[in-house]
Amino acid sequence: MERFLRIDRRFIFAIITVAVIISLILQFELPVPESEPVRRIYEKVESLPKGSHIMIAFDYDPSSKEELQPMAIAFLHHCFSRDLKVIGMTHYTGASGLAEQAMNLVAKEYQKKYGEDYVFLGYKPGGASLIINMGENLYSAFPKDFYGNDTTTLPALQDIDSLRNIDYLLDIAAGTTIETWLVYGKEKYKFELGAGCTAVMGPDMYPFLQSKQLNGLLGGLKGAAEYEALINKKSFAVSGMRPQSVVHMLIILFVIFGNVVYFASRRTRHA
């Protein structure tokens, strides 16, 4: 029995790879029912009148792109389809290109104009200090946008002085920025905050959901898939749920099989 526990791990790698490829190629439908924290973000966006200002913090880099970029794209679809003004920024140098790509791609689909309907403020270092700086004066924190335009001249930022004027802020995060936004931003400047995060961070966010410090949560690719389903724009995340289901089942089977073999071989050894 014990030889099962010593199998070449490359065998497991191969099974996982084949499972992902096959479940991506075979086009079977799986329902993606929305969960409460995801629906609350959707409903918040639905409730905002046209022209409201949404800020998206793209706080991730290529290492989390596969989980968070589909989320950002789905959320942008919703914002632009509702004619909301979108302001993008990031705490990560590595996020600038991904954020720019996502914003321009979705904006093009809805014929939104840069500067009028959306702006990308780009990257700034500072973390907590940057958030406080934005809370006191957005133009002191970002004198120029990503492309070097003077931010005071951009129509999309009209009526915005600081974070206090933002109608909704979604932090799409791969690190600890959600906590930073909570402590140094929302706590004092009182804007409504939602979060999208990698699944690794998902469980840590539940205390903030219950205390209503976060109005909603998109957790990992599953959260992105639920959002895609809600806005009826099924794409990468929804189709990713097929392999996600299959690989989860496989890993559970591995764990059960590993335990059965382990206990069986222990019993034989003791007998």
Binding site: A128, G148, A199, P203, Q210, Q213, L221, S239
Partner: protein
């Protein structure tokens, strides 16, 4: 597919993806080259973005340009010399004789961080987190289950906190409570493990979607 910089980029991206996955078979030069090239490009990207997004708009344009350009309409913001100097002091950490100057910068940053965090952490992480744990168990509209959940959360928070207090001996009632804390922690670690699996699998799915869709064109 006509040969464009985009299609060449996709082929390069796919090549790098496969080179990195070759590590799963065994460590090899292709993996190491891809990994080190990635580190180099990321480093270059970080420096250039820092220039365009931070140094240029925050220091070069408001401080340097008005001093040297006759066409500049705004006065130089001389106050920015203070943080610039502190920033340069920080870089002196690498100098043998002047590294002590970096202490001034670190003192400024650390002192400021400590000062701004105390009131905000108390408010956002302590008071606002204690509040929902102390909500009434019965106020009329709850089901019996939600009341039990409220009590369970209270028990969990207290027992986990007690588990982490090492200055009191974990004996008797305290010992029992700290044991309950361990059970809560174990369930939460299990949940975190499940979510970590989910995250890692999602990353893999994304890369295989890239290979099958963008590179090979098998998926629509």
């Amino acid at each position: 597919m006509p040969f464009t910089s985009h299609s060449f980029g996709i082929i390069l991206g796919a090549g790098l993806t496969l080179a990195i996955y070759s590590f799963l078979y065994q460590d090899n030069p292709a993996f190491k080259i891809a990994e080190n090239l990635y580190v180099g490009v990321s480093l270059g990207y970080t420096i250039i973005i820092t220039w365009f997004n931070f140094l240029k708009p925050d220091l070069y344009d408001p401080l340097i340009v008005p001093v040297f350009s006759k066409a500049a309409t705004k006065e130089p913001q001389y106050a920015l010399l203070i943080p610039s100097l502190l920033g340069i002091f920080m870089l002196l950490r690498f100098s043998k004789s002047l590294s002590w100057l970096s202490r001034w910068t670190f003192a400024f940053v650390v002192g400021l961080g400590a000062g701004i965090s105390i009131p905000r952490v108390i408010s956002a992480f302590i008071l606002q987190q204690i509040k929902p744990s102390l909500q009434p168990v019965f106020s009329g509209s709850e089901t019996i289950f939600s009341s039990i959940d409220t009590l369970l959360i209270l028990l969990g928070v207290i027992s986990v906190l007690i588990y982490f207090i090492f200055s009191v001996e974990h004996k008797g009632a305290i010992g029992k409570l700290s044991k309950i804390g361990i059970w809560f922690l174990m369930i939460s670690f299990g949940a975190s493990f499940g979510y970590t699996v989910m995250a890692r699998v999602s990353l893999l799915i994304g890369r295989i979607q890239f290979l099958l869709k963008d590179w090979l064109g098998i998926l629509q």
